[in-house]
């Protein structure tokens, strides 16, 4: 290779690099940047892919159909965390300064990443939205001004599961002496419901037995021999994740434990968990903080505007309506409604994290708004305030019929009076540990 060729190569590379750097800068000046932490790779990808597709599809729908929000185009950039906390923090640091106003909010999609970002988001003034995961006491907006946990928490999920069981048994009075087992991922996430379940066991007189399953949960034979052949509980609850879910359902079948009495939290209720379990999963139940199915107007619009024109994020339309997909859409709705609230207040231009926090403190997605979005019945209305960063915290019970989830209850509201006191107690302990002065919310 001669010197001239080398020179030409270097110049071409430099021009190419300049184009790469300058193009997003031009785009960013006109548009609202949205950073999305996703996991399309790694051991949990089967659950992460549909979420990422649902999130991206709703953002792209707004761009294609409405030209963005209030005339401001949305510029979505994904960063793959592979559900790894280190990569999650790296993604956050890489994305937080992008666009003209930085990342307006972060949805880490992982309890581990959530904990790692708690202090950073306060310093960076970027709201942390954790829908159905993360710290339950983040619902206390006086202590956690930048943490938002709609539409549900793990503690609420535990209470709703016991509420549902009490309905099946003819009332809370009939829970006395019943045996309920909790099979949980032996991690901070899996341990979240224990405190609530212990309080409820003491209150209603049922016997709670705990079965930790070490990560990743590929092998659970001994756990299920103990459950199915020794303890023989009346109900089993599961706080599982990834491959642990399908394995648990298969092992439950292997010891003939009735699937109708086996109830998972929403992260144990993905379509991707049921598929490998096959026939063993028929009758299994799971809580969901979103509705199930693909028959809603928002789905029709996504198909019509995006997929009909080859602009969908998923490989095919078949994935639309999976529960993880619907959760992705729901997260996008929460974020974009907050963005719109911020733009309505601060002007139709890209908004900052601080401005979005202001809007999230006042977020009100009511029935009428859900109808306009095309998600009436798909999501529960959400109304937040400065002090309440959760809302009603309701969830539905669903059952797997072998091919899809079917809703078998209406929205069930947890005992927010009891849980509210627990959230406040836990948040106060956190504030004391960190030296945080609660903000006034009047």
């Amino acid at each position: 290779m001669n010197i001239k060729k080398v020179k030409t190569g270097i110049i071409a590379a430099a021009v190419g690099m300049a184009c790469l750097v300058s193009t997003p800068a031009v785009m960013a000046a006109e548009s609202q940047f949205i950073g999305s932490l996703v996991y399309r790779t790694g051991p949990y990808a089967p659950g992460g892919i549909p979420w990422a597709d649902g999130f991206a599809d709703y953002i792209n729908l707004l761009n294609e159909r409405d030209g963005g929000i209030n005339g401001v185009k949305l510029n979505l950039e994904e960063c793959d965390t592979a559900y790894n906390t280190d990569k999650g923090v790296e993604c956050y640091e890489r994305l937080k300064g992008n666009g003209p106003t930085g990342m307006p909010a972060v949805m880490p999609l992982s309890t581990g990443i959530t904990y790692a970002l708690l202090d950073r988001v306060v310093a960076d003034k970027i709201p942390l939205i954790t829908s159905g995961y993360g710290r339950a006491d983040g619902s206390d907006g006086t202590i956690f001004p930048y943490v938002f946990v709609p539409p549900a928490t793990y503690w609420g999920g535990a209470d709703i599961a016991i509420n549902y069981i009490s309905q099946q048994e003819g009332g809370y009075g009939n829970l006395k002496g019943k045996k309920i087992a909790l099979v949980y991922h032996d991690s901070a996430y899996g341990k979240e419901p224990i405190k609530t379940l212990e309080a409820l066991a003491a209150q209603h007189g049922f016997n709670l037995t705990l079965f930790p399953v070490p990560h990743p949960g590929l092998e659970q034979k001994s756990t299920w021999l103990k459950i199915g052949r020794q303890l023989r509980p009346d109900y089993v609850l599961m706080w599982g994740w990834g491959v642990m879910n399908a394995t648990a359902i298969k092992e439950a079948a292997a010891v003939n434990f009735p699937r109708e009495k086996f109830i998972g939290v929403w992260w144990s209720g993905n379509d991707a968990d049921m598929v490998p379990a096959g026939d063993a999963a028929v009758g299994y139940k799971s809580l969901q903080f979103n509705g199930v199915g693909a028959d809603f107007d928002v789905h029709k619009m996504i198909k019509q505007v995006l997929y009909a024109n080859g602009k969908g994020s998923a490989k095919s339309e078949a994935g639309i309506g999976e529960v993880a997909y619907n959760r992705g859409v729901q997260s996008a709705v929460i974020l974009t409604e907050a963005l719109q609230g911020a733009m309505n207040e601060f002007g139709n231009k890209p908004v900052t994290g601080e401005q979005v926090q202001w809007a999230l403190d006042r977020l009100d997605i009511d029935e009428a708004r859900l109808k306009a979005i095309g998600a009436e019945g798909l999501f529960d209305p959400i109304k937040l305030s400065c002090a309440d960063h959760l809302g009603k915290g309701r969830a539905k019970m669903t059952q797997w019929d072998g091919t899809q989830w079917k809703a078998i209850s209406d929205w069930i509201e947890p005992n927010n009076e009891m849980l509210g006191a627990m959230y406040k107690e836990s948040a106060a302990a956190y504030a004391k540990e960190k030296g945080i002065t609660p903000r006034a919310c009047n």
Partner: protein, 330 residues
């Protein structure tokens, strides 16, 4: 295989402890539910799980025997083989043809690994070869998912997954576990015969004993490496089929290598029978510990107990139960 006297005593002692400790725990603690049918149900379940661990451990043993390298990529090979099989099947190939095509892919992969990675590392330190296998693992994880996607895929070979009662209705055993045990048993017999009675098998054993001596008598090292990586690929495919039928074919399959490590520590890195007996001891030991000891100390001990059990064996047999005793004279 000649069973050394101390190995025989160690296995006998461990079997006695596996019975005595749960029985004693049942007598001493009200938390422990001990009945003989339940004990045998747990023990049989553990033995059958152990066979599944052995399937994965076999792949490690083959490559370690031939090159002295711990193949970090074995778990990734299991995932890659299973992904390829299901991917080809989804493309319309009948299952039997997809299996043959996957075997060819694993052979090509073995040749590529030998040509691209191993050939230039001949005579390098083992740690360098080990680091190279880490690279292969990451490459296979990513490459497999890039080609075939990261979604969960179903691998249904029509095996029954239902539980049945045996021994007069006293003991519940899952049919699938029995089938997996039979397949693993057949694989082990075939491998043992291959190593013992074929020309290639004898050459492999010669390479395992001494690379340079094998080269000096005309055994082609690079061909041997291709063969051994290809055989490890076939073992990975069988493990991928069995584990994939159980859990669905997904990225988590790569993590089953974690279950093979205590088996290797216990059985020895160089012995095929060691991988089998190690798997059985680890499988039964961890299940019995989880059911009959864990309730007294809070539960969830299965995974670390497997390693503890393996390390306990090392106190008496530092080379593993069936590993080769290394004597270096200075």
């Amino acid at each position: 295989m000649r069973l050394e006297r101390d190995v025989f005593y160690i296995i006998l002692a461990s079997l006695l402890l596996m019975v005595a400790i749960p029985w004693t725990a049942g007598l001493l603690s009200e938390e422990i539910f001990f009945e003989w049918p339940f004990f045998f149900e747990v023990a049989i379940g553990g033995l059958l799980s152990g066979v599944m661990y052995s399937l994965v451990a076999l792949g490690f043993v083959l490559i370690f025997k031939a090159s002295g390298v711990f193949n970090f990529a074995q778990g990734a090979m299991v995932l890659f083989a299973a992904l390829t099989l299901v991917g080809l099947n989804e493309m319309g190939l009948p299952m039997w043809l997809a299996i043959i095509a996957t075997l060819i892919v694993m052979l090509v992969l073995a040749m590529a690994i030998e040509r691209v990675v191993l050939r230039s590392l001949v005579n390098q330190e083992h740690i360098i070869l080990f680091m190279a296998t880490i690279g292969i693992a990451y490459f296979l994880d990513g490459f497999g998912q890039t080609i075939w996607g990261s979604e969960v895929k179903i691998l249904d070979l029509g095996f029954s997954q239902n539980p049945d009662f045996y021994f007069g209705g006293l003991i519940l055993i899952n049919d699938f576990d029995l089938i997996a045990a039979v397949i693993a048993g057949i694989l082990v017999i075939v491998l043992a015969l291959f190593f013992q009675y074929t020309r290639i098998g004898r050459a492999l054993r010669a390479v395992a004993d001494d690379h340079q001596a094998a080269l000096s008598v005309g055994i082609p090292l690079k061909h041997i490496w291709v063969i051994v990586w290809a055989v490890a690929g076939i073992v990975a495919l069988v493990a991928g089929i069995m584990w994939g039928s159980k859990l669905g074919v997904q990225f988590s399959l790569a993590l089953i290598a974690l279950k093979a490590l205590p088996v290797l520590i216990l059985g020895g890195f160089t012995s095929i029978p060691g991988a089998i007996i190690g798997g059985l001891l680890i499988g039964a030991g961890e299940k019995l510990a989880e059911v009959f000891i864990a309730p007294m100390i809070g539960g969830g001990i299965e995974d670390w107990f497997a390693y503890m059990l393996a390390l306990a064996f090392l106190v008496f047999r530092p080379q593993g139960l069936f590993g080769e005793k290394i004597i270096e004279r200075v």
